[in-house]
């Protein structure tokens, strides 16, 4: 990916973040749940993207959905990546020993269950609140990160600087935190973005199925609403949800590619990063 394309992606992502911050600060999208408009109202100065079945403002709902998506993506992406990185580094560092065996068994168990099904089951069991939905995704999405970091750690632990640290008696925890994890930074950035994408899509699917967060609105809810509308030629809800969803997923995916390509370039140029 070229630098200008990456800058464009960052700009678009920045716009999404600005929209979300505006919603969190109460600047816009606050009346997404008021049913004051006409049924399936068209585009107007009051309702920029029209209204849904019960007269809610589709534009306000789409803005609030940006906040829901980023809230989910950032929280799940950040925490799942951190959890996966730590677990993967521990497993890789103590390869073949009990921490590795336990973590591999746990990852195998989680991998054996389809992701959305597992997330849905956890979300349903925990009560379909935002925290429950996020927790359900974190509990499942740390696994691919951990697998990658484990493989990378196995490679890094044979590096001379790691072996030197071991010889001079640096504790394994410090070696992991100071010498191994910083060298997986590009990997974690790319993986973190991909986890965000997975979390966004999972949140949409769970909300579509009615087991997403019940306290707010989401693109999944809007798409679910639109299933009753497209048959009669009403696409406002569907487009107002699917286009921003597509944009955000595309941008995050492109940035993940960008980090991966940078890492590949760095690898070709100078080998693994040194701490």
């Amino acid at each position: 990916m070229s630098r200008w394309a990456a800058q464009l992606c960052w700009s678009i992502l920045g716009t999404y973040v600005a929209i979300a911050v505006g919603v969190w600060c109460g600047l816009w999208g606050q009346n997404y749940d008021l049913a004051g408009g006409p049924k399936w109202g068209g585009i107007s100065s009051d309702y920029w993207l029209g209204t849904n079945l019960i007269g809610q403002d589709i534009f306000a709902r789409s803005l609030t959905s940006v906040a829901t998506a980023l809230q989910t993506g950032l929280m799940v992406g950040g925490l799942a990546t951190m959890a996966g990185a730590l677990a993967g580094a521990c497993a890789g560092y103590w390869r073949g020993r009990w921490p590795d065996r336990i973590l591999l068994w746990l990852m195998g168990v989680i991998d054996a269950i389809p992701f959305v099904l597992l997330a849905a089951a956890i979300a349903y069991a925990l009560g379909a609140q935002f925290i429950a939905v996020a927790l359900a995704m974190i509990l499942t999405l740390w696994v691919p990160v951990a697998r990658l970091v484990r493989a990378e750690t196995q490679k890094l632990r044979t590096m001379p600087y790691v072996e030197s640290a071991q010889i001079i008696g640096v504790s394994p925890v410090l070696i992991i935190l100071r010498h191994i994890l910083p060298n997986t930074w590009h990997l974690l950035m790319a993986q973190g973005l991909l986890v965000m994408v997975a979390a966004l899509k999972a949140e949409v699917v769970l909300s579509f199925l009615g087991i997403g967060s019940q306290a707010s609105v989401s693109w999944g809810v809007m798409i679910a609403e639109s299933t009753q509308e497209v048959a009669s030629g009403r696409f406002n809800n569907f487009l107002a949800a699917s286009i921003p969803l597509f944009g955000l997923v595309f941008v995050l995916g492109s940035l993940a590619d960008f980090f991966q390509s940078r890492r590949a370039g760095d690898s070709r140029a100078s080998g693994p990063m040194q701490a």
Partner: protein, 602 residues
């Protein structure tokens, strides 16, 4: 490689020539044209599959529709009369009721036979007798039957519950089911039960032969042996095919008796069936198509003759909603009927819940009464009807719907007209503020429509001053989970619909009878001694002006007590192909109409 291709080509040419030759020879054969008679077939689309054809399991409308057409019930509903009215079916006349209301004497038609079946000794259907009726009722109480319909007569018929408790031995008689002779029985009740004749028009009461139940065992649910107008040909998860029962009794249609009204039915061509004996079609097909868009597409392609118009196409289907009128481009091919469901949609307050219910302290009780009344005043039935039911639903005060005879057309409609100012004033006068209003949890099953219903409800509550964070949604994975929460009295408001099992307001009024509190049918745990007194008095009375007045008094009491946000009867847009002469009905009490359907070819 080239040689092989040439050989393949030669072989192909030979096969083609041989095929062509055979075709020519067959084409030249002097064959008489086949004389296949043109069958009259009516194809009825349903939104769910029938899974069990045993009358003891006919708990859903999908089973009811098939069961009512392959079996006979003692009574049935008149084809066209509304409100629904009973008429004899397998019975020769309506029942004779003793003066004390405790005994019902029922005479059966003579000469009615079950269809031929290997279940019978010689494979030929035998005559239906009163003993079959008695057996069919007794088997509901036999644990081996796993009946879903025993509640109809539980504790009502002398000796029947005791017979079940003693082991359900069919060689022993039940004192309350007296066989007067081979074609006459007398039912003795433990207490007056004026709704008994309705229960004998329910598909649960369909008459089955013991030989068939014994012969087919578990497979009886897929091998119906009845005396109804049709018999089953095939049955799977996508379709049930029935053909006319050739031995069905001759009962010429008396249109006046069936409730024919030229103003209502005159345009449908129904006069054509007058004096003829049903069934009028050779085959009746039920197509089970759960996906609404697929069902609509099948209807538009002419693959089925009847469907419910799905909500998502209603605005394309209807040119206008008041009065409902079909879009012009559809009128050449289809007919339409907008039918009110004999059902009530309401939100019942849980009188046991903190903050909303009845309270022992009179002052607090008055505050909570005011809160309920304010919520009722804040609810906008007109908007609810417009948004979710295309303005086709019928809004009415109280719980007695317009489709039953006891409906009071003169009842004030104040309780269904939104008045936000009044609601706010009530809250303020009784000391309710955003800080002290109780949490209002709204439970729904997990579907987007239900979520929309909640969001609209929350919007109404925001308008009267309820804080956003105090009107919360609780979604349940299934309706069963939600129902369990209601039964455990966990939710302050019970938003439900109640479809009538029989066209008598008692079926709805019992939902508020104190002794029926949860886990009984009184989900709202409503308790009012005066109401209970009136209910007990009315429940043993035969239909009449005095009983109607009691029903209406109970209805008014519920409104005064602000016991529920009520009510609306949903409507369904029934559409059928013009080739079918019919007056369709989708209600639980319907299904009988299919024997009266005729088909005219273009």
């Amino acid at each position: 490689m080239l040689e092989k291709t040439n050989r393949d080509g030669q072989l192909l040419r030979r096969v083609l020539l041989a095929t062509l030759g055979m075709t020519v020879l067959l084409g030249c054969e002097d064959r008489a044209p086949e004389q296949t008679p043109q069958l009259k077939v009516y194809r009825h689309a349903m939104d769910q599959a029938t899974v069990d054809l045993d009358p003891a399991a006919a708990a859903t409308i999908y089973s009811t529709f098939v069961v009512n057409n392959v079996y006979d019930t003692l009574f049935m509903y008149k084809y066209l009369a509304r409100p629904y009215a009973l008429k004899p079916n397998l019975a020769a006349t309506l029942p004779e009721v003793s003066a004390d209301g405790l005994s019902y004497t029922i005479r059966l038609r003579r000469g009615v036979k079950f269809i031929d079946s290997p279940a019978f000794d010689n494979g030929q259907g035998r005559e239906v007798t009163a003993a079959d009726v008695v057996y069919s009722m007794m088997r509901h109480f036999d644990p081996a039957t796993r009946s879903q319909g025993a509640w109809l007569w539980q504790g009502r018929i002398q000796g029947l519950d005791q017979w079940a408790a003693a082991g359900a031995d069919y060689s022993k008689s039940v004192s309350g089911l007296e066989l007067v002779d081979s074609h006459q029985l007398r039912i003795h009740l433990t207490r007056p039960y004026p709704q008994l004749p309705y229960t004998l028009a329910n598909a649960f009461s369909a008459v089955v032969p013991k030989e068939a139940v014994d012969h087919f065992g578990r497979e009886f649910s897929r091998n119906p042996v009845g005396s109804g107008p049709f018999e089953l040909v095939s049955f799977d998860t996508s379709k049930a095919v029935l053909r006319a029962n050739e031995g069905f009794r001759s009962v010429p249609v008396d249109l006046a008796e069936e409730g024919f009204d030229p103003a209502v039915h005159g345009e449908l061509g129904i006069e054509a069936i007058a004096g003829r004996s049903p069934p009028f079609v050779d085959e009746l097909e039920f197509h089970f198509v759960p996906e609404s868009s697929a069902r609509w597409a099948a209807f538009r392609r002419g693959e089925v003759d009847f469907t419910l118009a799905p909500n998502e196409v209603l605005d394309l289907t209807l040119a206008q909603t008041s009065p409902p009128q079909m879009a012009e481009e559809l009128q050449t091919d289809y007919r339409m009927r907008v039918a009110t469901e004999p059902a009530v949609l309401f939100n019942i307050f849980n009188m046991d819940s903190e903050g909303f219910g009845q309270h022992t302290d009179p002052l607090q009780n008055e505050r909570q009464h005011a809160l309920r009344c304010a919520i009722i005043a804040g609810f906008d039935w007109q908007q609810h009807n417009e948004r979710f039911y295309f303005d086709l639903g019928e809004i009415f005060p109280g719980v007695i719907p317009p489709d039953v005879a006891e409906f009071d057309p003169n009842l004030s409609t104040d309780s269904v007209i939104r008045d936000v100012d009044y609601a706010k004033r009530l809250l303020a006068e009784h000391g309710w503020t955003a800080e002290n209003l109780p949490l209002l949890t709204f439970g729904v099953p997990g579907s987007i429509t239900q979520r929309n219903i909640f969001e609209q409800f929350r919007s109404f509550m925001l308008d009267i001053g309820y804080p956003r964070d105090k009107v919360v949604l609780q979604q349940f994975a299934t309706f069963g989970d939600l129902n369990r929460a209601w039964k455990r009295s966990e939710l302050p408001i019970i938003n439900k619909g109640w479809g009538l099992d029989y066209p008598d307001a008692e079926n709805i009024l019992q939902l508020f009878y104190g002794p029926n509190r949860t886990p009984g049918s009184n989900d709202g745990n409503y308790q009012n001694d005066q109401y209970d007194l009136w209910y007990e008095k009315a429940s043993v009375m035969q239909p009449g002006p005095e009983r109607t007045e009691l029903y209406r008094s109970m209805n008014r009491l519920l409104i005064d007590d602000c016991a529920a946000i009520t009510g609306l009867s949903r409507t369904q847009v029934l559409m059928w192909n013009r080739r079918a002469i019919a007056y369709p009905d989708r209600a639980m009490v319907g299904g009988f109409y299919l024997r009266f359907v005729d088909v005219v070819e273009d």
